[in-house]
Amino acid sequence: SQELEQSPQSLIVQEGKNLTINCTSSKTLYGLYWYKQKYGEGLIFLMMLQKGGEEKSHEKITAKLDEKKQQSSLHITASQPSHAGIYLCGAHRNTGNQFYFGTGTSLTVIP
């Protein structure tokens, strides 16, 4: 089966610190999506990466997709309490249109 493993499972950082979340697939991905979920709320789309080696940034969040399109990293610079939440990577199944999610990373930012 196709799986997306995220690491770390949870992260607690001091405000102002940088952090990285990883998402790894056992198979080559068509594209890799990053979402954020505030506790108890819906999903917020962050960005989508499609090409090997692609890198995108939005405010203080940067995401990269490796050349082999099997691993992505999400980097937050100078973290703030507003960055707290659950970060989920996602991808479409290679054998169909179903969209599935990684195992998730819970981020806590301490003021």
Partner: protein, 114 residues
């Protein structure tokens, strides 16, 4: 983009009863999906809601427990049948057009079974 309205937003139900969750999209979409998010966990795909045919269920999910309807290209329902406390989760519907396209999600239905 697509705007998804999900109802109810939350409910508390007695064990043994059933709850039907509605998902309405503001435009016609090809693909509609239903997910479950158990407390503290990621989202797990339940099934693909197919318009005009039976839903396609993922491993571990069955039609008797989670019957799904998709009468047209803008609407779907998910029923959680014969509920137990283990069914307490957030249920989300999603729409998308496949690889390369963004997937959109409803705000979810928070279900508590007592």
């Amino acid at each position: 983009s697509a705007v998804i309205s999900q109802k109810p937003s939350r409910d508390i139900c007695q064990r043994g009863t059933s709850l039907t969750i509605q998902c309405q999209v503001d435009s016609q979409v090809t693909m509609m999906f239903w997910y479950r998010q158990q407390p503290g966990q990621s989202l797990t795909l339940i099934a693909t809601a197919n318009q005009g045919s039976e839903a396609t269920y993922e491993s571990g999910f069955v039609i008797d427990k989670f019957p799904i309807s998709r009468p047209n290209l803008t609407f779907s329902t998910l029923t959680v049948s014969n509920m137990s406390p283990e069914d307490s989760s957030i249920y989300l519907c999603s729409v998308g057009e496949g690889p390369g396209a963004e997937a959109f999600f409803g705000q979810g239905t928070r279900l508590t079974v007592v």
